[in-house]
Amino acid sequence: MKDDLNIVGKRVVRSDSLAKVTGEARYTADLTFPGMLVAKVLRSPYPHAKIVGIDVSKALKVPGVKAAVSGFDSYGVKWGVFRYTQDHAMLHTDKVRYIGEDVAAVAAVDEETAMEALSRIKVDYEPLPAVFDPFESMKDGAPQIHEQYKNNINIHINIDVGEVDRAMEKAYLVREDTFKAAGEAYAMMEPYAVVASFKNGYLDLYMPNAGPHVRAKALSNMLKLPLNRVRIRHINSGGAFGGRSEVAPGDLVASLLAIKSGRPVKLVLSREENATSSRQVHDIIATIKTGMKKDGTILAKDYKVIYDGGAYSSTGPIATSIPFYVYEECYRFPNVRYNGYRVFTNKGIRGMYGCHGRAFLAGNEAQMDVMAKELGLDPVDVRLKNGLKSGEMTATKSKITSCGLKETIMTASEKTNFRKRWAKPSRLKGVGMGCVAIMCGFPMGFRSGSSCYVKINDDGQVTLVTGLVDNGQGNESMVIQVASEVLGVPMADINLVNADTEVTNLDPGAYSQAAAFVGANAVRVACENAREKIVAIAAEKLKVKVKDVGLKDGSAYSLKNPDKKMPISWVVREAFFRGEPITGTGSFFPNIDFEREWVTRPWGQMAGTFSFGTSIAEVNIDGETGKITMPRFTSAHDCGRAINPMAVEGQMEGSIQQAGVAAITEGNLWDGGYLLNPNLLEYKVPLACDMPDMDTIIVSSRDPAGPFGAKEGGLTVRMNAYSAVACAVANATGELFSELPLTPDRVMKMLERKKGVKG
């Protein structure tokens, strides 16, 4: 791989930031259209109830109300990400299954009128017994939330590799622990919003989303409209973190209202609604049994993990699997058994999350340290010993093609003097290390690939067209940077048309860590194809060989004699004359085993490549209050090559906040089916004053298939930062955590347990 890159690898200003610092960037709630109506949703006050009837007629009589809908106005098509998880009609006519579920909606001239109208809708419910605890839910005789899922078990993932029981018998040290973690709130700063308009048989929609194409498909099914009649348009997104991946009830509600009223409709959820009724994160209970050899080699892992899935399937099979995979992609497990159960309860729907799986992952890592300690080993050595290397296969048969795990472990531990500090922790101070790997993309059938169309305009400026999505992480800027590198055109001269289902092609979206590896690769290929055409004409005009043509700063020049050059715009105009404008298409389809299926065939190549990362947390515990402070946090990340190191650092720093510091502050609180903290005051998103000093280290492994060697950037930290914190707390207290977040009351309990205090 050449290192003489012009712009890839540089700390460039993101292309989207000017609009954002001037307030000009438009988000869904900022949109207005002539005649636009305001929508409001009536929500279920019951965790579980039969719907006997819904009467919206009185709402329609309120002056200013233009439409009212319930499930009886929809086709009742149930959406599911998989054929076997189709259970969510968005607006149901049979039952409600959680408090806050969408039941009916109105569109009116203003919000006050809409609220007045909501109060006139009459819904007859017959309350049913409800269940909120997944263990209760699995018992015989528990209230059945969906007919088709026995014992409310939505998904059971069973993976069994090697001979776990025999290996456990042979192990020198075996340990079993159970770890719990409260589900988190995505708490993206932008509450969900949608604008829908239906004109001339075409439905146009704007909403924060991580994948417009899959969204359009869902809505086309539910509204029985041809796919080309549903157009999801590009709009800025105020954060997703996994919570904007799927079609939302509001998408359907706004669409139905727009179709009925014939006017554009805007629905903006309140912060509370965003918390209760968009997506939540799974509460998890993970039982982890590990067998180790005397030298620290992991012989066997036996897992039973319960995921509280809330009321509907959502991304069920994926959510039930991912924590296991990101762990098996990191370490060598000769024998492993994983039983993951996603269980329905009468709570809000749980989806995928960037930090998904903290009970499982932090539990594994913290337990590993305790076992290492018992064996007189060092956590660094144990991780190096068990860590996968390039060329190896994971337990479920994914090949690792590039791997900087070792480098991330070594760099992070050396920078923090980890070994020494871990071995001799001072009183109530600790260090802890967490490692993980991340698949860059996962099987999504024909939606797993991305493609791009590029055209060079007669002024030499470039237009890229791609399905790629940006939820705030900087994907748009990233592909502009890649195109700039390939075409030798400054970033400012490249326009991007993206994530608009009418004009862009399929793309895996921004929720499977595929944007850099897959999306940017497609852009690279398209631009390389266009480049070939530019270079051919330029070579002819400059009278040099094709291989001697360089492109830079909007000019084609001779590599041997840089003074010999011409603007790319001249080349483009010449191409127009020849009737062959400079355009390029390109696509990238990752090397994935498409026979692989989450439930029925959980083996085969998961993704085109994997990223790796190691985080080290340093904690101080106040012995009197149990309060944890984090003076420093170090993360090292193998992201292949960082296309924009500043953006990758930003992802890593955000991950330290959202997974690391969150491990001591964040968790949804429940009173049965009532979410007690659906706001930003009692749900504790860490603030600037709560942040440690952060050291982010980018380790380069240059993936052979990645665009300029790039893999995903940042997510490893999102899935190992809490592990580092849990391990550091174990190091400081000598106790394993039992539940996240590690709020001061829980830490105090750990300290008391250590001291042998009862209570």
Binding site: R14, T22, G23, M189, N236, G472, Q473, G650, L680, A688
Partner: protein, 158 residues
């Protein structure tokens, strides 16, 4: 309900509006003046995304009634540019990578602006204290702090 007449100066422009007595400043900005830079992220004053500067004070505009700002001088993120030139905070937020999804950005910049207007050389700790009034979900705040530090430097030498 009868509307109330309210006049104030916003981004160097005098405006006179008829507003609902129970209308928030955030609603007035977004719906009447189409200044949508200030965002509603929580509606209850817990996040700072709607922060604008009123008479030099950063206010959460979701907690302010528009009639309360009668006669006030208001600056929103849209009014930061002078003669087309970006405010140093706008420049440094871009250059330092302090912007990700952007939804907290205007509130964050306006909070920082009020700090830099009243304090020429804030310490890092003072910057952290000030921006601990605002929630950012994306960045971990490090680059935001760096951006404010750098803007303070530029404003001191300007």
């Amino acid at each position: 309900m009868k509307t109330i007449k309210v006049s104030f100066n916003i981004n160097n422009e005098d405006v006179a509006l008829d507003v609902r007595p129970y209308e928030t400043l955030l609603e007035t900005l977004r719906e009447r003046l189409f200044l949508t830079g200030a965002k509603e992220a929580c509606g209850l004053g817990a996040c700072g995304a709607c922060t604008v500067v009123v008479n030099g004070i950063p206010l959460r505009s979701c907690l302010v009634l528009t009639p309360e700002v009668e006669g006030a001088t208001i600056t929103t993120v849209e009014g930061l540019r002078e003669d087309g030139k970006l405010h140093p905070l706008q420049e440094t937020f871009m250059e330092k990578g302090a912007v990700q999804c952007g939804f907290c950005t205007s509130g964050m910049i306006m909070t920082a602006k009020a700090l830099l207007d009243r304090k020429k050389k804030p310490t890092k700790k003072e910057i952290v204290t000030t921006i601990s009034s605002n929630i950012c979900r994306c960045t971990g705040y490090k680059k935001i702090v760096e951006a404010v530090e750098e803007a303070a430097k530029r404003m001191a030498t300007a």
